[in-house]
Symmetry: C2
Subunit: 154 residues, 2 copies
DNA sequence: ATATCTGCAAAGACTTTGCATGAGA
DNA sequence: TCTCATGCAAAGTCTTTGCAGATAT
């Protein structure tokens, strides 16, 4: 069973060191949780998961670590409308191909979809070029979310 | 000088009544602030603006009102990555054609852009149809944000 | 007249920070 | 060894809520 940062020894680990950070048990554990899940976990949810294998780890460490991961581009941070940050591995997990989100405005369920992604990304890429030029804005990533009502909530 | 809900007497006002809500001075004032600005105000910023003409109004009322406005679809709620909700009139202001956002990851400046919007919206519309069918998901709105570095922060 | 709305203050939720201890390289 | 990371608890922000008085219809 491969996990996102089992390649920690090379990929993530290396990326950490490259930025002058250390790979610790807590950080490893948080990366493992993120790479095992297909959900969009909040800091507290990550903490609860981490707790199962690493019960001495604290919530503050989760916050500090995910912030770090966002900074170095390994993790994406989202808000799906409930005033709470949710985190998702950018790459490197079997669960996580590039995708966009459908968010139910009623039950707050979030569906990842990969359909149409290619077309979307293609247009985005074109748009990015135009925007970069016009606004002299260097684009790093995009967020596409559709809001509406899921099958159960209609 | 026309403002977003000077048409309150008809448009917004009517919408309020239609949902069984009352049009009050506080609500009017908040709508006015939102329709006059081209920025993406947080609740506190709205409160400060409202204060100038309606100093007895409280922050809690701003929160309650924008929540209401989001529910009835007059206002959109965003999070641009700083764990703080920001609000924007959906329609009805001279400042607010349909647009998407460029967010600077460094200074947090947000640029509204309307270029490429038509193409984007067209593709989105097509995507929405496909997603609606596949996931039986009724799409109400979308969010597109590009994150990167603005001209000053590169 | 009366159901809804508001201001205030208090509580709640999420996130950040300070500091002494512990752990990676 | 020496610097960086962590745990804990406290503090900081943003947001929600309870309630009595005020207001729109």
């Amino acid at each position: 069973m491969r996990r996102g940062c089992e390649e920690a020894s090379d990929g993530c680990h290396g990326k950490f060191r490259g930025f002058g950070y250390r790979m610790t048990l807590a950080r490893q554990s948080i990366l493992d949780v993120l790479s095992r899940t297909s959900k969009h976990l909040s800091a507290e949810e990550i903490y609860h998961e981490v707790y199962k294998t690493h019960p001495t780890s604290g919530l503050a460490t989760v916050y500090r670590t995910v912030e770090l991961l966002v900074q170095i581009g390994l993790v994406n941070k989202f808000d799906f409308g409930d005033n709470r940050a949710r985190y998702e591995l950018e790459i490197g997990s079997e669960h996580k191909a590039h995708h966009h989100h459908l968010v139910c405005m009623n039950c707050r369920r979030v569906i990842d979809y990969t359909d149409f992604i290619e077309e979307e990304v293609e247009l985005l890429s074109k748009t990015e070029k135009g925007l970069s030029k016009k606004y002299n804005f260097q684009i790093k990533k995009h967020i596409i979310q559709f809001y509406g009502l899921c099958d159960k909530c209609q």
